[in-house]
């Protein structure tokens, strides 16, 4: 048994807010404190966490860390790797990279921040095998990914069906089959209909634009997919990247999308990129107050921030039209991919600068959202890694949230015009440690439906991060004193001391094991691989953990 004593425990899911409490661990799980007779001298390992905050391991809800587009980005940006090298140690393998680290390094960097569970944000089912291969090489973390469906031909074809009962049943079977085949965790929708529309060289889509070739509107895709996900009892709701990412005035689209889905559980990702008002000249202004006001009245929605971090980033998304525009706008190098029948992807490296007015406003909007959304269980800390910034900047963002003086000092470095378009300067809120524990572990775990993660109650996975309490919160969260994965100490004083393999998290919703005959026929005719070669084989998940759909 292992016992963590004298620590201030932050376990918001169980209502523990910094109380001194012992945590007992056995068999990789948190257990109730056993009653030993006095002077018991059993085999108990003790970690003295005096002066430390004890939290559940961090849970990443949205990050692009493994899979085909991430690897293409690594390949096209050796300049991201040259200056960021990590030698092998007795416990770890070597690696390179700053915004797009190699796989072994990604596992190490996350665990060195106290994170123990991560989700890759977007993988097309056709390329799922590749994503699983990379996750197998990403150590120290339990990991899964979301399967892209918002521009899938079979999905759009099924939705084109006139009869509603039959349509629903077929869609349910298709979604279950795609998730099972890809060994994915949740349904990801990226710019519904927009990627397909671009493939037809047509403009961007609104909620009611019929999308070629089947004429289905994004509104219908969203409504029906949300219903199906509820019926399948998936642990995580729809994970939605709305239309018009990054466009001035997109706050209207985002609000309209939420109104459409009102009353249903939905996760909206990288909200910062979707909260832009428009100035008269067509520039961006903060739409964060409107979004926050809406979220404050609608607890059924969760979102993650997508906070900007100044410095280099590598933007990558399935939203290929958006990436093409970014390439045209910046003139930076660009990669683009078309995933037959399913999706697309684009990659553009960028640098965010505080002196750039747009970047300064974007940075402010992310923080405004985090400060204006009252309920921390509704908004989570992400940088949409590596789109808005690398995840390694989380400690810095935590400091921005916890320390208003530091925030004001950093705001002084912004383009001076930014204050005209934002309200960040008026916000005095400072996050508490309890709230930080919610937005970095308890909240994401709850939204993901991971009932054994993000808390320290009995039967939870013994993934624990122990941070030495300090005034400087960036220093505190940059270097955990201990990180435990499944009850084993893997990080000591910010260094990985033991290499362990995590599990692959995925779902197996009920439903037909086979594609309906007409779709199977389409598959045989139009996919470039055979149907029998589509589903990811067992050997690509060496340590599987199926999260039940209940």
């Amino acid at each position: 048994m292992l016992k963590i004593i004298n620590g201030q425990v932050y376990d918001p899911a169980n209502g523990v807010r910094g109380e001194l409490k012992d945590i007992c661990i056995e068999g990789g799980k948190i257990i109730a404190e056993p009653h030993f007779p006095q002077n018991h001298k059993g085999d108990i390992e003790v970690i003295d966490a005096a002066g430390c905050a004890v939290m559940p391991g961090g849970v990443e809800i949205h990050s692009h860390l493994a899979g085909p587009k991430v690897n293409t980005a690594r390949m096209m940006c050796p300049e991201d790797h040259y200056d960021h090298v990590h030698s092998k140690t007795l416990a770890t393998r070597s690696g390179t990279g700053y915004t797009i680290p190699s796989t072994f390094l990604t596992g190490q960097l996350y665990s060195r921040l106290g994170y123990t569970t991560v989700f890759e944000a977007a993988v097309p089912a056709l390329l799922a095998r590749h994503a699983h291969e990379e996750l197998q090489d990403t150590p120290l973390l339990d990991a899964g990914f979301f399967t892209l469906m918002g521009n899938n031909y079979m999905m759009m074809k099924v939705l084109g069906e006139p009869e509603s009962e039959k349509r629903k049943e077929r869609l349910r079977d298709l979604v279950a089959w795609l998730l099972r085949s890809s060994k994915g965790y949740a349904v990801k929708i990226v710019n519904p209909g927009g990627i397909e529309s671009w493939k037809w060289s047509q403009g961007s889509v609104n909620l009611d634009t019929p999308v070629p070739p089947f004429g289905v509107t994004p509104r219908r895709m969203l409504l029906e997919l949300v219903d199906v996900v509820e019926e399948l009892h998936l642990p995580h709701p729809i994970h939605l990247h709305s239309n018009h990412l990054g466009e001035a005035g997109n706050v209207q689209t985002t609000l309209e999308t939420m109104r459409t889905l009102e009353g249903r559980r939905v996760h909206l990702t990288h909200m910062q990129f979707h909260s832009y008002g428009a100035t008269k000249k067509g520039g961006i202004a903060s739409g964060a107050p409107q979004i926050a006001e809406y979220l404050n009245q609608h607890p059924e929605f969760t979102c993650d921030a997508g906070q900007i971090v100044f410095g280099p980033v590598t933007t990558m998304t399935a939203d290929s039209p958006m990436q093409f525009h970014l390439h045209q706008l910046t003139g930076n190098k660009w990669a683009n991919a078309d995933v037959e029948m399913e999706s697309g992807a684009g990659i553009v490296p960028l640098i965010y600068r505080p002196s750039n007015l747009v970047n300064a406003i974007q940075w402010s909007i992310g923080l405004e959202l985090l400060l204006l959304v009252k309920n921390p269980w509704q908004i989570f800390l992400t940088t949409d890694h590596p789109n808005a910034g690398p995840f390694t900047a989380y400690p810095q963002i935590i400091r921005l949230l916890m320390d208003a003086d530091y925030r004001r000092a950093r705001m002084a470095e912004l383009n001076p015009k930014a204050v005209r378009y934002t309200c960040l300067a008026e916000l005095d809120r400072e996050y508490t440690l309890d709230e930080i524990a919610i937005i970095t572990r308890a909240g994401p775990a709850k939204a993901l439906g991971l009932y054994r993660k993000g808390h320290l109650g009995v039967d939870a996975d013994a993934d624990v991060a122990i941070y030495r309490l300090q005034q400087d919160k960036e220093a505190m969260f940059s270097r955990p004193a201990y990180v435990l994965k499944d009850g084993e100490v893997i990080v000591r004083e910010g260094q990985v001391i033991k290499n362990v393999r995590g599990r692959t998290l995925f779902v197996q919703p009920e439903g037909s094991q086979k594609l309906p005959p007409d779709l199977a026929d389409d598959f045989a005719k139009f996919y470039s691989i055979a149907l029998s070669n589509f589903a990811v084989e067992e050997e690509y998940v060496e340590r599987p953990e199926v999260i039940p759909c209940i």
């Binding site: 390949m75 050796p78 090298v85 070597s94 190699s102 796989t103 037809w200 078309d338 005719k525």
Partner: protein, 284 residues
Amino acid sequence: MRHLSRYSALSKGLFVPEGRKGRKVVVIDVRPTATSKQADIFLQVTPGQDFEIATVLRALIKGLPLEGLSESSTVAGVPLSKWRELVALMKECHYGVVMFGIGLTQSRGKELNLEQINTLVGEMNEFTRFYAIPMRGHGNVNGSNQVLTWQTGYPFAVNLSRGYPRYNPGEFSVMDLLVRREVDAALIIATDPGAHLPKAAVEHLKNIPIIVLEPHENWTTSWANVVIPVAPAGVGAAGTFYRMDSVALHVKKLVDFPFPSDLEVVKSIKERITDVKDYQRASL
């Protein structure tokens, strides 16, 4: 030919129900080939002018003036009017794909030719959807690129001698290391350097100890110090192949082979090395 029938030319698509009739195939090559016979348009060009061709196409697409060229001029031996026709076709199509071979990297200009072709394809997206797919040589070269990239950050020419990955094609590529005689032993998996590398590189390989993992007899096995016969992936062992367009495919084990797989051999070598290192560490 399978590429033409299964993927690129003859196959019927969801939006190309007529198959071959619904497509236009243009072949640009220095000589007639089996592929060029299947083409709607074959432009036979003079060798070594790939960069010029891509540049002229870029200019025509953008409607830029062609300095030093008149309407009666030729580019790479093909009249300008033909290039204009090609550009019109490219702009009209709904979805274009450029498939290019490694020959482009061998002519004057080398990697700059590829940069120019890729820029051309990128710029075409202002008018319609256009993509480029490199036609790789041997099977699963892409797989090796993919794995090296996710593990080290770089696709090839990776040097781990300092304990972390370094990348420099031309310095750390196999050929350069061998020709400079920096290598004092080699482990060779799934390739036949004796048949493919230039003479100077092979000469050095012959002078150092080499271990070859290979199911067949080939030019290298005849003088290798150690040959470990392995079961070929997709026949005697399971494995993963990355197709030219980067779709990962699982290959199955079809028959029992008397030999272990590449993976099993490499794993057991690694285990032995770890044992020796642990022993050395313990006896320090």
